[in-house]
């Protein structure tokens, strides 16, 4: 019930924030209407970070507690993080072409490290398919998820550490939270979209976590069923020669 309410609230919030970003907030003087793409690009990037951060933390938690529920959180974060990172890249490309003049530039550290982040977590999802044993899979995936998370701060600080096409943070540093380098209306539109997207993310995470738990339970039932079937077969094989000998005698 609570999750359903969250889903409805998230849907209304995303629609309202989108109408505001597309039709109510004025266009930027320099970038024109293309700047409106920032209102979906930035929340997507934020949720990519958040999702992969959750995957890494859940991985650490799994290695510590060996609780498969934490592995379910990790896989939910990875799958949803891949989606939002792909959205961030797509939104950035759609904004980059009219504003920078190019869709993509491999020399830019932010772009390249983000593409690497996407590739790392796609690899994480593929890596999970290598084994059927839930604990072995969870432990290996946890290590991959933690190692891949090293790229998150590299992506975030790449605009400060190296020079590239991508601009620095608008509101992402402590001093810029109080003095953002954008008008208040723009910041408000961006913050409201971040909140709306984060609500949608929370709903998706809960649903994906539930799916992971059920998948694991089905796997476990199947495994137990196969073990008991194998035991029955072994017992039957052990009794058959004796029966045959009795018949022969």
């Amino acid at each position: 019930m609570g999750t359903r309410v969250l889903g409805i609230v998230a849907l209304v919030a995303v629609l309202a924030a989108s109408v505001n970003a597309l039709f109510l907030v004025p266009a930027d003087v320099n970038q024109g209407d293309a700047q409106r793409i920032m209102y979906v690009h930035v929340p997507s990037a934020w949720l990519g970070y958040l999702s992969f951060g959750v995957t890494a933390l859940a991985g650490i938690g799994y290695l510590w507690k060996r609780d498969l529920r934490l592995d379910a959180v990790a896989v939910a974060g990875a799958e949803i993080g891949v989606m939002f990172t792909a959205f961030a890249i797509w939104g950035g490309m759609m904004w980059g072409r009219p504003v920078w003049g190019v869709f993509w530039q491999w020399e830019d550290p932010r772009l390249t490290t983000t593409a690497l982040l996407l590739a790392l977590y796609l690899g994480y999802l593929l890596f999970r398919r290598l084994t059927d044993d839930p604990h072995r899979r969870a432990a290996r995936a946890a290590v991959v998820g933690i190692v891949a998370a090293v790229d998150i701060p590299i992506v975030h600080f790449s605009v400060e550490w190296w020079r590239g096409l991508h601009q620095g943070p608008t509101i992402g540093s402590p001093d810029k939270v109080l003095h953002p380098s954008a008008p208040g209306l723009f910041v408000l539109a961006l913050v409201s979209m971040v909140v709306a997207f984060t609500l949608a993310w929370a709903w998706l995470m809960i649903r994906r976590y539930q799916l992971a738990r059920i998948d694991w339970q089905i796997e476990e039932h199947g495994r137990l069923g196969r073990i008991s079937a194998a035991r029955r077969a072994v017992r039957a094989a052990a009794t058959t020669p004796a029966d045959g000998a009795a018949e022969g005698a």
Partner: protein, 56 residues
Amino acid sequence: MQDLGFIVAAYGVILGGMALYAVLLLRRLSAARRASLQVRRDAEAGLPSPPPEAEA
């Protein structure tokens, strides 16, 4: 509105993608719940569980 094609492409893919993922997720969840129920019923009836490829 300037650069309309880029704006529609960005919002269309991102909002449409989120909606599509949400719908597919709900369908996967519903299918998994049905499969889980079936597996439990089979277990209670003493039937052998299906192989992993049949579950998928």
